[in-house]
Amino acid sequence: MMPNRHARAALLGDYLPGVAICGALLAGLIWLPSDNRLPMEILLVFAMAQGWNLLSGYAGLLSFGHQVFIGIGAYSLFMSMNAFGLPLPLALGVAGLVTMATAAVMALFLHRMRDAYFSIGIWVMADCVRLLIGQWDWVGSSRGVMLESSKLDLTHFADMVFWLAIGLAVVVQFGVFILLRSRFGLGLMATRDNDVAAASVGIGASRSKVTALILSALICGLGGAVYYLSILYADPSGAFDLSWQIKILFIVIIGGVGTLEGPILGTALYFVLQQAFQDNGEMFLLLQGLTAIVVMVFAPQGIWGVIAQRTGLQIFPTRRRPPGPSLAARRPKPTTEDKAQAARAPAKG
């Protein structure tokens, strides 16, 4: 079936705001600061947060163990360059593959676990991997491992890592966007909202959740690989630190879990706060904890969730809308999903 004029206009309208906003944000990150370090960290943390969001927001599996993928990504990059002498692009590929394989093995244990059992199961495994890496001499045990930088082009190193971070952030944002608009994404969200109903129309819940876990792990693994590439050193207590998970969780929760716009907002807020509390790390952590509680009590859907609920605004539209005459006439109307949700809500409470 050929896409007609309306459909094409709608498609353009769906992508244009997101592309424009991401372009503007990226331009700001590229040209405003004098130093590339902070923008690079922002982009990588954002990508990891969006990766976690794919699993926890869209597949409904709250993970407390994503630090394992960050660490595995970093270590497999380092070891494939140090021990096997692979060039950087190939090593990044290996890092991605190893992280995906790790997630696949973990899925063997996890795929029947739901809710809290999944959250804790993945946490125990992450802790296991951290302890094992800390015992393993080949990867430097608890001393950690330095990247042998002789093969790297150090003159343009900072710029190259920065562009890797930009590439990862952009590919993740639009990759997840396209994925969620696909048949797979629809099935994933349907399973999250009602697994029995989803199964009754033939959606393989287990398979789509495992796929989401593996993709989410891949994103965090590549994020970890690029981050630790930039500092040339990784150790088990840093790369597998729970604070990675707390950071990502805070960003997604405050921005809006299960929205594509939320992690952008959350990342911005996180780094503004981090810069404001630069001299007082404990206060910053206390504030994060307090914010998590306050957000859960007053607006569990997060900042973007509240905005979207009030205005119906979607910068990255992942909800299906019924076909209608024009884009402008359609946009402000609540979607059928909104209406259905509004009808369901009082009955549940």
Binding site: D115, I120, C128, M296, G349
Partner: protein, 290 residues
């Protein structure tokens, strides 16, 4: 012989692990609250005890009772003021809020007590021991194990013999019926959380007499508690105790084999059990009953 001593020590630590798991299972079974801050309350109990002992030289039993009372109050208030607003069919809000609470407690402990690794020293009682069949066992670990068993029996009696215990079990099944009988659901939940935090804090204090702790010990304690709940099954006192002892023995013997392994061996044992269950092998103590 040293292996036998390690196993005996493991059983004694395991009794406390069973209590950790029991507290977590109460909150999960009755309120459906997955308390991520459980490990931090365990550590908080230890710090509270250490602080009380440093202010005045009290008897250890008095300290245990004081910590129990304070912890019950803290748990009651936590449930009544915060968690009662977050419970519902979706467990995620309460999980994330208690995650936030765990970050707050952890960093508050760091800023008050620093990051040093501590231990509670009880002087002469610490080193006293008896020799049974050629194996020397400390008096203190025996007392601690006895307290753990007494607490298990007390919770069992509370659950089956008292009104509030029956209300707990009824709340786990159907809180609407409970409310028609004139119980205030919010207060029943608050008492249950008080009991859960009390068990955590008392067990945490007793463990601190046996091993060292720091503000960062909470995560390890939390994971152990969850492993106890998942292995032992929800709502089974005996299951919690056996699972706790199992994990305690595995951990202490593991530490004997490799002093740097930390909780690695108990994690691996837990994962092994998950894998075995995955293939539907029924375990002796894995039967579910509420």
């Amino acid at each position: 012989m040293s292996l036998l001593i390690a196993i005996i020590n493991g059983v004694m630590v395991g009794g406390l692990y069973g209590l950790f798991g029991l507290g977590l299972a109460l909150a999960f079974g009755i309120m459906r609250v997955v308390n991520i801050a459980h490990g931090e309350f365990i550590v908080l109990g230890a710090y509270l005890g250490a602080a009380l002992l440093s202010v005045m030289p009290l008897n250890i039993f008095v300290v245990v009772c004081l910590v129990a009372i304070i912890a019950f109050g803290v748990g009651w208030l936590l449930q009544f003021s915060l968690l009662n607003r977050l419970i519902g069919p979706n467990p995620v809000p309460a999980m994330i809020a208690t995650m936030g609470l765990s970050i707050i407690i952890r960093n508050a402990l760091v800023s008050v007590f620093g990051t040093d690794i501590r231990a509670i020293d009880l002087g002469s009682l610490q080193d006293a021991g008896i020799t049974l069949f050629g194996v020397s066992i400390g008096i203190l670990p025996l007392i601690i194990f006895a307290i753990a068993i007494v607490l298990f029996l007390a919770v069992g009696a509370l659950m089956t013999r008292t009104t509030i215990g029956r209300a707990f079990r009824a709340a786990a099944d159907d809180f609407e019926i409970l409310e028609t009988l004139g119980f205030d659901r919010r207060k029943v939940y608050a008492s249950a959380m008080g009991l859960a935090i009390m068990l955590a804090a008392v067990a945490g204090l007793l463990l601190a007499v046996r091993s060292s702790f720091s503000p960062y010990s909470g995560v390890e304690r939390l994971l152990i508690s969850f492993e106890v709940v998942i292995i032992g099954g929800l709502g089974s006192l005996r299951g919690s105790l056996i699972a706790g002892i199992f994990l305690g023995v595995v951990q202490v013997v593991g530490l004997k084999l490799n002093p740097n392994s930390g909780p690695l061996f108990s994690h691996l044992a837990f994962l092994l059990i998950l894998l075995v269950r995955h293939f539907d092998v029924t375990f002796l103590f894995a039967r579910k009953k509420i």
